[in-house]
Amino acid sequence: MPPKKTKKEEVQVSFLPEVTEEELVSQHKRTAIFITIFIALASFLLFVILALMPWLNVKRQVGGVNYDVSQLDRGLQDVPAAEAQRIQDVALKVSEAKKRLEGRPAFQNALTLVENSAINEVVFKTLALDDKGSLMLTGVAQSYRALAKQILAWRVQPQIKDVRLTSASASPGIAGAVSGVQFNASLTLTPEALQWSP
């Protein structure tokens, strides 16, 4: 007699709450949204960081230089203000003095030139001179010949660039003789002629 067969029934047992297909789809949708929002936020954050980096860098440098300036200011304050002012005052005066001592006009050079080129037959009466090298002389020569000699004496002087006689008139003397020739002369000196060198 064959053994009696008994039918086994398989029953699946789950302790998890039962999830429907609809709920599973909804869960996937939420995950998708979270990922999207996460990517968006991450991008946003990345751009914020990228924007902030150079700004922070410059800000740091400005802070560093500001610190150096304040340190130096503190150092400068160690030199008393009056002393620093005096030093700068001397520096300015020295710089100005050097500038002003260059190429000063020395009028005595012109007077020396007049003396060195004067001849015996001429007497000068007035003199006008300026720092551009213009020298005007008035005087009396014994004769026109003497005046001509004077002009030649000026012309051989290397410091005299130009000689012009603006007027010459004879003064009548006794018995119609010439007692003297009054003249106005205009001389132009070279720029070096008036330069002062001690």
Binding site: A32, F47, W55, V69, L76, K93, R104
Partner: protein
């Protein structure tokens, strides 16, 4: 409604992500990066200006230190002479005193001294002083003496024109004196070579320092009492 929205997003997930990122880029670019760039540019300008400021101050500190050491070696008389070289404004008393002292030293009598200032634009007393001087008396030799004394005088006086009317007939002089322009003066290193320059060493202070006597009179219009 939420379900329809979620369905829509799910259906266009890739497009949605790209769109959100693009919007983020645009928002960040306009709302953050552009103002930030402007701020960075402004900070950079400030940085350059601060560095220049720092450089000037560092240079000044170096100059002050070196100048201080150098000045300690200069004779006090030379520093006094240096101080006397320049006029202090148009009404500089030192100019009147110096011109009178120079004229009297060469046996001339000053009959008029007019001073006018020609500013150079720097302000604070900078610029040249034009001095017109009329002197009486004096021979040619005294004129030479006067011209030389003017050249070697402190304050610095440069003759710009001279008219000599003859022996003992008087002279007219136009002189230039110099005032300092402190406003535009940068910090600088002192060139101590000036103190060994013969052109500086030959200069002589033209008038003695003022001795301030008694000040205050009950009748300033009366002749001075003995």
């Amino acid at each position: 409604m939420p379900n329809r929205f979620i369905n829509f997003i799910q259906a266009h997930f890739v497009s949605f992500t790209v769109l959100v990122n693009l919007i983020t880029i645009l928002v960040v670019a306009f709302a953050l990066i552009l103002p930030m760039r402007a701020s960075v540019a402004a900070q950079k300008v400030r940085l350059v200006s601060l560095r220049q400021d720092l450089e000037i101050k560092q240079q000044r500190a170096r100059f002050d230190e070196q100048n201080k050491k150098g000045l300690a070696l200069i004779a006090e008389a030379d520093l006094q002479k240096l101080d006397a070289l320049f006029a202090e404004g148009a009404t500089s008393p030192s100019i009147f005193a110096a011109v009178e002292a120079l004229a009297q030293g060469a046996h001339f009598t000053p009959t008029s001294i007019d001073i006018a200032q020609t500013p150079t634009g720097g302000g604070q007393g900078g610029g040249n002083l034009q001095i017109a001087v009329q002197l009486q008396g004096g021979s040619y030799f005294e004129l030479k003496e006067l011209i030389k004394a003017i050249l070697l005088s402190a304050p610095l006086l440069d003759a710009s024109s001279l008219t000599f009317a003859g022996e003992n007939a008087g002279i007219t002089l136009n002189l230039k004196a110099y005032a300092l322009d402190r406003a535009s003066a940068p910090a600088s290193l002192i060139d101590f070579a000036l103190f060994s320059d013969p052109r500086f060493n030959d200069l002589r202070v033209s008038s003695a320092p003022f001795e301030q006597g008694a000040v205050g009179r009950s009748n300033p219009f009366s002749p001075p009492s003995e």
